[in-house]
């Protein structure tokens, strides 16, 4: 490739990647702020934090679930009118929806309209992303020389993780500038509002891009499709490849990706009870260290083939997840640490709570423990008081108690967790780095945008996107089973309840690994141009 071609190629990659990264940023700030969003838009009453959090995760997941519909709608558009115009539309749609989430009044102000509006905007975000990724990947791939497709498209693959990193950094910066009270009151809206600025810049950059040369040529030759949906999914010859792409590649790739990036984050925060600030820092470091490997594996896929890199990533993930998550859990598990007894203390106090409509006062017990390695543990039990008496739940006749546990870990433990997140990121880069090029090469130009977008977004949007909600539910269910057994004086039924959520990615990635290994053609397809 000549120097001028190389420089034009990198400006194409840059312009496409920046826009795609911003779309991922928009999509992920919702997830990164899930905890605070759950209190602003999905309050479920005292003692129901899990329901609140699951509602938020479900809304987060709803954005993923509609991604295949976005893929169909915008994919069809992209195969009919062109790649460039379609992903301009998706960019603006995403930016508008994200900005709008930032200005919705909270549940306290407009009631049930608040979560409904959030849900609608989240669905629009999902539709936009469903159209964006396939467009950007196809656009870059169609500009790339066939022997460098893996390397060139791996820059698009970076954008998803980069978007998450930027979202975490913007949130961390906002938190560092504002006080905790200000962040809780209005500061959490800033990352959503900032999106409009980034989308504006990206729009200006993308406006000057040209249409994909392969698509332009196909259009000039009259070889574009008149009905991409029918040709993609109504034609058995192509539909069976869509199924193979889904079950042999993207299903496993999706669950490995979302385990490494999102479930790891939710696991450290919600199951290990590490404070959000430490979680964000762990994730930023782990993701930053892992991100260059997208390009490494994309580049390697041009040399040794894409299939085996992706299959190896799935296999190693399946085999090591339980070990990795056991080690993660043990890192912050206070049962394995030595307590400094003289530092333990507890405080009982009455605290005003504006949300408590039955007298405005909660009874709060705070237990604090310190450990020899520097770890601290705080348990805050809040009992809601109703006219001076502890409120009794109508559901089970027990006192309504909200328990919050916080384990502040040491720097050494933090680096252990960063290392464990980084290892998972390596699996992510193995399965995700080469996948854009692999999917592009599976389908012909005239229906490429539509055909590759659907399996990608079902695998990632549905199988991957639902992962945090399903895995969190499986763990919470296992913990309940054990607590019921404990109340009856029995031994725990499930030995390591915190690992139960991993069955979901392990089973799906396992099926995908077998299908991919046996059915996928190892020779990368170069005939579809």
């Amino acid at each position: 490739m000549s120097e001028s071609k190389k420089s034009s190629m990198f400006s194409i990659i840059g312009a496409s990647s920046v826009g795609t990264m911003i779309e991922w940023y928009d999509f992920y700030i919702f997830g990164s702020l899930a905890t605070i969003i759950s209190t602003k838009f999905f309050p479920a009453g005292p003692g129901s934090e899990t329901l609140s959090f699951l509602s938020t995760l479900a809304t987060f997941a709803a954005g993923f679930v509609v991604r295949p519909f976005g893929a169909l709608f915008f994919g069809r558009l992209g195969d009919l009118i062109g790649r460039k115009y379609t992903f301009m539309v998706t960019l603006l749609l995403m930016g508008g929806a994200t900005f709008a989430i930032g200005i919705i009044p909270a549940y306290e102000t407009i009631g049930v309209a608040a979560p409904l509006l959030v849900l609608v905007l989240r669905l629009l975000q999902g539709l936009a992303l469903g159209g964006e990724y396939g467009g950007a990947a196809t656009y870059v791939a169609e500009h790339s020389p066939a022997n460098q497709r893996g390397y060139m498209t791996s820059w698009i693959q970076i954008t998803a993780t980069a978007g998450l990193i930027v979202s975490l950094i913007v949130i961390a910066l906002t938190k560092s500038i504002l006080s905790k009270e200000d962040f809780d009151a209005f500061g959490w809206r800033i990352p959503f509002l900032a999106s409009i600025l980034m989308v504006g810049i990206s729009y200006i950059i993308r406006r000057n891009m040209h249409e994909s040369p392969l698509f332009s040529k196909a259009k000039a030759d009259g070889k574009t499709s008149t009905n991409p949906l029918k040709e993609s999914f109504g034609n058995k010859l192509n539909f069976k490849f869509v199924l193979l792409a889904l079950l042999g590649v993207t299903m496993g790739q999706g669950v490995v990706w979302y385990t490494g990036q999102f479930y790891a984050m939710s696991f450290i925060e919600k199951i290990m009870n590490v404070p959000k600030e430490q979680v964000d820092s762990i994730m930023i470091w782990g993701l930053c260290l892992g991100t260059p490997f997208f390009v490494v594996f994309g580049w390697l896929s041009d040399r040794i083939g894409r299939k085996w890199i992706m299959m190896a990533g799935m296999l190693v993930a399946i085999l090591s997840y339980r070990t990795i998550y056991t080690k993660m859990y043990e890192t912050a598990d206070i049962k394995g640490k030595t307590e400094i007894l003289e530092k333990a203390h507890q405080v009982a106090e009455l605290k005003e709570n504006a949300k408590n409509k039955n007298g405005g006062v909660d009874s709060v017990y705070t237990f604090t423990k310190a450990f020899t390695d520097g770890t601290t543990y705080k348990e805050i039990k809040t009992k809601t008081l109703k006219n001076g008496e502890v409120e009794i739940s109508e559901k089970d006749g027990k006192p309504v108690i909200e328990t919050k546990k916080i384990v502040t870990i040491t720097d050494t433990d933090k680096w252990t967790l960063i290392w464990l997140v980084f290892i998972q990121m390596l699996f992510v880069t193995m399965v995700y780095g080469p996948v854009a090029a692999f999917l592009v090469e599976m389908f012909p130009i005239k229906i490429r945008y539509t055909s590759m977008s659907l399996p990608y977004h079902i695998g990632n949007g549905i199988f991957g996107g639902l992962l945090p909600a399903i895995a969190t539910f499986l763990v919470s269910n296992a913990q309940k089973v054990n607590s019921v057994a404990a109340e009856s004086g029995l031994a725990p039924v499930i030995e390591k309840p915190y690992l139960e959520g991993l069955w979901y990615p392990i089973i799906l990635a396992g099926i995908c690994f077998v299908i991919g290994t046996i059915y996928l053609d190892g020779k990368d397809n170069k005939v579809n141009d």
Binding site: L51, S55, L244, L247, I462, I470
Partner: protein
């Protein structure tokens, strides 16, 4: 390899049917009966995961069984 692919077709169809049994009979119905916060996973299992897994694996298994994925060389 083609014979293995065809035989595995039966396995994929069986896993698809097993997924329906596990997700609906074993999980979703129980979750619906429990109510409360269990509605969300019940909806996810019933409306999204079950049709997606069973439908895609069933169709894939059917094609596989019929030799649609046989290698030509």
């Amino acid at each position: 390899m083609n014979a293995i692919k065809r035989i595995l077709g039966i396995v994929w169809i069986s896993i698809g049917m097993g997924a329906v049994y596990y997700l609906i009979v074993n999980q979703a119905i129980m979750l619906w009966n429990k109510g409360g916060e269990n509605y969300i996973p019940a909806i996810i299992y019933t409306v999204i995961l079950c049709p997606m897994i069973a439908g895609s694996l069933g169709t894939f298994g059917f094609y596989s069984l019929r030799g649609e994925f046989d290698s030509k060389d």
